[in-house]
């Protein structure tokens, strides 16, 4: 007798299986346990691959999050004008400057030129700071946005703004929206993976709210790979439960579940739950395999700098990111640096030392990631983003060694890979890099562009919650056409 088939809407209500849900839906289908659903039926499977709104090159994203707020004028936004203004008061440049623009209103110093030398790189001749010797080799792959601005001068609201489009806690982040919009390509890995600082310097401000699904179903939240110890909870079998012993235990569970399942054959989620144990069993080997960089050949490990003490930790994460996207993970975010101050790019004190250190931690690994992705043909359909939550002021933050304070009015981001025009720069900051001046880019615009590169129209990606259709770009958003390939 064929059991009656569960219905799709009912399955959606109880939709599930963050990891490997596609596989689960597939199995149920193969076993005739659920109605055949056309591929992409989200009702049956929230991670089913969804058709994009239009054809697009990028299929997945790796976001190198420059946590703490990188100084644009010391990295990618070369400002010869700042040398001219060096030592002068910013009020001479902009009479309306307020001491409360940055975070520390009592440490407002004079305009300060970059401590770093800039040289032209690549065919495009892009001026790049000396702290990125290797990344500078890739400028012809990058599209720079020099006119980004945000709405808060404070880390966590600005982080939420950059990740979720609003400067408040509780909204879905880009990775969640993208997985909601496109589904997953992975059979037994999460669609959205986040890695944070493994050197004990903490999580970004606001913690897990930065990879929250907000009001989207919880299956779309980011999976945080724990930086030390077991990366995912409960992957290790209990002591005295070998593979064989656990296998027989799971066989028992399956058998005992049978009677119950016969009685409730119509309730698809019960069948789904039985299969989820099989998936979990497989994940015990699949997940460690995906993040096992020891399986990589020596030349690849060397390329990333695994053995270089300065950058080895970030090299591992970049390499893991490549292995994850290779296995179908849709969205990977890696935070460079920990919580704040000297634990991240938050160079309040000693901008020179701070940025040299964090550029040193990331330059080789990120450059290697671009090279590696390109060599594997993955860069064509992988979007790589380099961006933090805000920029830094062109003035000195006074102290023993000069630093730079938060600047919500201007930051630089670059995009590379799938669908991005290389070797171009969009927008300009003013003469000293204080404010975004030409072709200003709101974060809604940046998000609209990221979604566009993935084939999603930002105005059509909506979710109804407590009576309103929400979108990542709130009520704004404009695609930055000139950087599209």
């Amino acid at each position: 007798m064929t059991p009656p088939l569960p219905n799709r809407r009912e399955m959606l209500r109880h939709a599930g299986c963050g990891f490997g849900l596609l596989a689960l839906a597939g199995m149920l289908h193969e076993e005739g346990l659920v109605e055949a659903a056309p591929l992409g039926d989200r009702a049956l499977n929230p991670f089913a691959a969804q058709p994009a709104h239009f054809p697009a090159k990028a299929k997945r994203v790796i976001w190198i999050f420059i946590n703490g707020g990188p100084s644009h004028v010391d990295t990618w936004d070369y400002k010869p004008g700042l040398e001219k203004w060096n030592g002068k008061s910013i009020r001479e440049f902009d009479a309306e400057f307020k001491d409360t623009t940055g975070f520390f209103k009592n440490q407002v110093g004079a305009l300060m030129k970059s401590p770093f030398a800039f040289t032209p790189r690549g065919e495009s001749g892009k001026m790049v700071s000396e702290i990125f010797p290797r990344l500078g080799q890739h400028v012809d792959r990058m599209a720079f946005i020099h006119s980004g601005y945000t709405e808060s001068n404070n880390h966590s609201p600005a982080l939420f703004m950059m990740n979720c489009g609003l400067p408040r806690m509780g909204y879905p982040c880009v990775g969640s929206w993208v997985n909601y919009g496109l589904g997953s390509e992975s059979r037994d890995l999460p669609g959205f993976v986040v890695m944070s600082d493994p050197k004990g310097r903490g999580l970004p401000k606001g913690h897990a709210a930065n990879w929250s699904a907000g009001f989207l179903p919880g299956v779309y939240q980011g999976t945080h790979l724990r930086p030390t110890g077991d990366p995912i909870d409960n992957l290790q079998r209990p002591e005295k439960l070998t593979d064989e012993l656990q296998r027989s235990q799971l066989d028992l569970l399956k058998q005992l579940n049978e009677t119950h399942r016969e009685q409730f054959a119509a309730d698809g989620e019960l069948a789904a739950r039985i299969e989820s144990f099989e998936l979990a069993y497989r994940m015990q080997s699949a997940a460690p395999e995906a993040i096992d960089i020891d399986a990589e050949p020596a030349y690849i490990q060397k390329l990333y700098g695994i053995d270089v003490p300065e950058c080895g930790h970030f090299a591992r994460q970049c390499l893991v990111a490549r292995r994850l996207v290779e296995r179908g993970v849709r969205f990977v975010q890696i935070y460079s640096g920990g919580m704040e101050n000297q634990r991240s790019w938050d160079g309040h004190i000693d901008i020179d030392g701070n940025h040299r250190q964090f550029a040193g931690e990331t330059d080789q690994p990120v450059a290697a990631l671009l090279t590696d992705l390109a060599e594997r043909g993955l860069l064509e359909d992988t979007l790589v983003i380099w961006c933090g939550e805000f920029g830094r002021l062109p003035i000195a933050q006074t102290g023993e060694k000069p630093g730079r304070d938060h600047n919500p009015h201007c930051f630089t981001a670059w995009l590379a890979g799938g669908g991005v025009k290389g070797g171009v720069s969009y927008g300009e900051s003013d003469e000293v890099g204080y404010k975004a001046a030409v072709d200003r880019v709101h974060i809604n615009d940046l998000h609209a562009t990221i979604l566009h590169l993935l084939g999603i129209e930002h105005e059509r990606l909506t979710f109804k919650y407590n009576g309103r259709n929400f979108r990542l770009t709130d009520v704004g958003g404009r695609v930055i056409e000139p950087i599209l390939a």
Binding site: F19, F103, K105, L245, L256, H260
Partner: protein, 740 residues
């Protein structure tokens, strides 16, 4: 002052509109162009429908004001009309070109005039017209709004007649069955007693019955045995623990600030204890509402009333604030209190009206700010209360008490401002007059205003303003206020947890965007029954649980499923997955490891053995085991949790140290030394039933074989290990986590 204000405005427009420099320092040439080419056209062709004057006459179209610079740039319903420097984004231009809208409606303007507008936008749209756009008024038709079902008073309907009288136990059954009979459906017969007792235990207590309790119920010859069971469970202190958890989701309750440092609120747990105690004491629901909003004003001598005010202060709040953020952070906090009060008690998304009139529900922005101003001087404080065992520190929300410590105190964070202003588009730099406390006009008769519900402070020295008491008064007033809606929202929440979905499937949205009730007459009957009987919830639980629709079996029937696949009309009782707390608590209970100590501070330790409601809820360190099973993030009010089935849940059952410990505890309770005896005992403990013959056989064979495998693996104590493996599988069964 005027100068400062103008500077602020200029700054605000700079921030908001990219190349706003042109607006802040318009050059003379540009202004001349505006005066000669643009303004005359606007006045002649546009102002009739797009100006403050038009708004005053009720002729405003599309909420678009073109008679001020701000109005043109903020735009109307369709977005900014003028984006300086960006012709493509400027709706005004595309409307003149008849590309988006066709304006003016009287006919397209000459090409030369349109070209002037294009040029004007290209040069940065210089525009000297200072001043805010006049606030838009009168675009919401309150009279029409009041006709929407949820804003109407109860419609009194007698329980209808049905064909199959034999199935009817309570009036609820008549409403359900009448609808089923219309649709050609019928419900299942009553479930057996083993099923009923397990269902009732999980529903009311969130714990399984013990084998002795099951046997006693099954062997009770009294025809009232089931009613007695329900009465007994409603008297259990575990009832409050179970149902408090449902309410804590709605109250977005947590015990830390969230945001940057996520500081603990070590004395916030008293609010959780209040909810448990109030439910256990069967506090009338209207009092439950009033105390959470204004217990400090209404019953300041009663420690429980003070504890109740923790509701208002339970939301997240940033700790690292810069001076530039002080005021907007306070407005965000007012919004948290306003929005949560709206969805929790009235099922209305009032928060949507913060920046503009509510797009769907009849809630003007003015109403929002009047509502929010109720909380103007409400802040979190810590006070010493006499709670039976000496003085205890308690976090409350009140007025006129010292504020709790805040990270930005040394920067001068004021905690509150003496007045709440109407804000244009939610922008603290665009104040538009002081808002006096008021309520939602759509939920009061036209001839009444807020003064009708005003509660005067008892004397001049009163610490608090009694604005919240007035609000509570209005929310629970069933004669002229929002009481009918409040009662509907309350009974719907009870129904939802007993039946798997609400009569209104969107428990936090009773507005026009929410689902309509599947059984509107039943909802009104239940709500008026609640009010008539003194807002007592325990009575209502019993009314629901003694109905035939509640007591029916879960059997599936394809023929009926074809008519109602989603079971919206309750022709069967679909198995429901237990929530995170109930799964864990049930495992601990079956393992004989549950510590039933009630109340007091919680813990983050996953190895604790108290009920899960006593986990400490720290926003940055949410308990992993709870999060696996759809625990909310405790940031905003959640009316219905999602129910997901994900592989990491299975990993928890298979591999977590806790699951293994519970299995060990469970195995330790199986006293019968024979394999078959142990299997019987395990089924009785975990599932409240005997194993079938096949189950007994499969399990016994497993125990023997697994013991052998452990021996071969060189494990001492192989027999015990095999039993633990078996018990772990029992706790992982579908039947264990799904309740029929």
């Amino acid at each position: 002052m005027a100068h400062v204000m103008r500077t602020l405005l200029a700054l605000a427009s700079l921030l908001a509109w990219g190349s706003g420099l042109a607006a802040a320092e318009p050059d003379r040439q540009g202004l001349e162009f505006f005066e000669s080419k643009i303004r005359p056209v606007l006045v002649e062709k546009c102002y009739a429908c797009h100006s403050a004057e038009a708004a005053a006459d009720g002729k405003l179209k599309g909420n678009l004001l073109l008679d001020t610079r701000d109005g043109a740039r903020s735009g109307g319903d369709s977005g900014p009309a003028v984006v300086p420097g960006n012709v493509d984004e400027s709706l005004l231009v595309s409307a003149l070109r008849h590309e988006s809208f066709e304006m003016p409606p009287t006919g397209k303007l000459p090409d030369a005039v349109i070209a002037d507008f294009v040029k004007w936008v290209e040069i940065g749209a210089p525009d000297p017209r200072e001043g805010d756009s006049a606030p838009v008024a009168g675009t919401i038709d309150l009279e029409a709004g009041r006709r929407f079902w949820s804003f109407q008073p109860f419609r009194r309907t007698d329980p209808p007649a049905v064909k199959d009288e034999s199935w009817v136990r309570t009036p609820i059954d008549r409403f359900l069955l009448a609808r089923q009979e219309q649709l050609g459906l019928h419900a299942n017969p009553t479930a057996d007693r083993r099923t009923l007792i397990r269902r009732a235990y999980f529903d009311l207590l969130g714990l399984p019955p013990t084998p002795a309790e099951v046997e006693a119920f099954i062997n009770d010859a009294d025809p009232q045995a089931y009613e007695k069971l329900i009465d007994r469970l409603l008297q259990s202190p575990h009832y409050g623990e179970r149902w408090a958890r449902h309410w804590l989701d709605v109250a977005r309750f947590a015990e830390s600030h969230g945001y940057e440092q996520d500081y603990d609120r070590p004395h916030a747990y008293h609010y959780r204890d209040f909810v448990i105690q109030a439910l256990n004491a069967d506090m009338p629901y209207d009092q439950f509402v009033r105390w959470q909003l204004a217990g400090d004003e209404l019953a300041p001598e009663d420690p429980l009333a003070m504890m109740a005010t923790g509701f208002l202060g339970a939301g997240p709040f940033p700790t690292q604030l810069t001076e530039a953020e002080f005021e907007s952070a306070r407005y965000d906090e007012l919004d948290d209190m306003t929005a949560t009060t709206g969805v929790a008690f009235l099922g209305l998304s009032i928060g949507c009206a913060r920046c503009h009139d509510h797009k769907f529900d009849p809630i003007p922005t003015k109403d929002y700010y009047r509502f929010a101003s109720t909380f103007t001087t409400t802040i979190r404080s810590e006070i010493e209360l006499e709670l039976g065992e000496g003085e205890t520190k308690v976090q409350v929300s009140s007025e006129g008490l010292p504020h709790i410590k805040h990270h930005a105190d040394d920067r001068g964070y004021p905690h509150f401002y003496p007045e709440t202003h109407f804000l244009v588009r939610g922008d603290v730099h665009r104040k538009d007059g002081v808002a006096e406390p008021g309520f939602l006009q759509v939920l009061m008769p036209e001839e009444k205003d807020a003064s009708h519900w005003r509660v005067a402070p008892p004397n001049d020295e009163a610490r608090a303003s009694f604005r919240r008491a007035s609000l509570a008064n209005w929310i629970t007033d069933t004669e002229y206020g929002a009481g009918h809606l409040a009662a509907r929202v309350a009974v719907n929440r009870l129904w939802q947890h007993h039946f798997g979905r609400g009569i209104v499937a969107t428990p936090n949205d009773f507005g026009t965007q929410g689902e309509h009730p599947t059984h509107p007459e039943l909802l009104d009957w239940l709500a008026s029954d609640l009010v008539q009987h003194g807002w007592k919830l325990k009575r209502l639980h019993k009314v629901m649980m003694t109905s035939s629709v509640y007591m029916q079996s879960s059997d599936f029937d394809e023929a009926r499923a074809r008519l109602d696949r989603e079971n919206a009309f309750h022709w069967r009782r679909a198995p429901q997955r237990l929530e995170a707390e109930a799964i864990r608590d049930a495992m601990l209970h079956v393992a004989g490891m549950l510590d039933t100590t009630m109340f007091g501070p919680g813990t983050l330790d996953q190895n604790m053995r108290r009920r899960s409601v006593y986990f400490f809820i720290k926003r940055s360190q949410l308990i992993p085991m709870m999060m696996l099973f759809d625990w909310p993030e405790h940031l905003v009010s959640i009316g219905a949790r999602s129910v997901t089935t994900i592989a990491p849940q299975s990993l928890m059952f298979m591999n977590s140290p806790q699951a293994r410990q519970y299995a060990e505890g469970f195995a330790g309770r199986l006293e019968d030394k024979s394999r078959e005896g142990a299997v019987h005992q395990a089924y009785r403990l975990a599932l409240a039933r005997e194993p079938t013959e096949r189950e007994r056989q499969v399990a016994a064979e497993f125990l023997a074989a697994q013991q052998e495998r452990h021996q071969q693996a060189g494990h001492a104590d192989a027999e015990r290990l095999a039993l633990i493996d078996f018990c772990q599988a029992m706790l992982s069964l579908n039947e264990f986590v799904y309740v029929e």
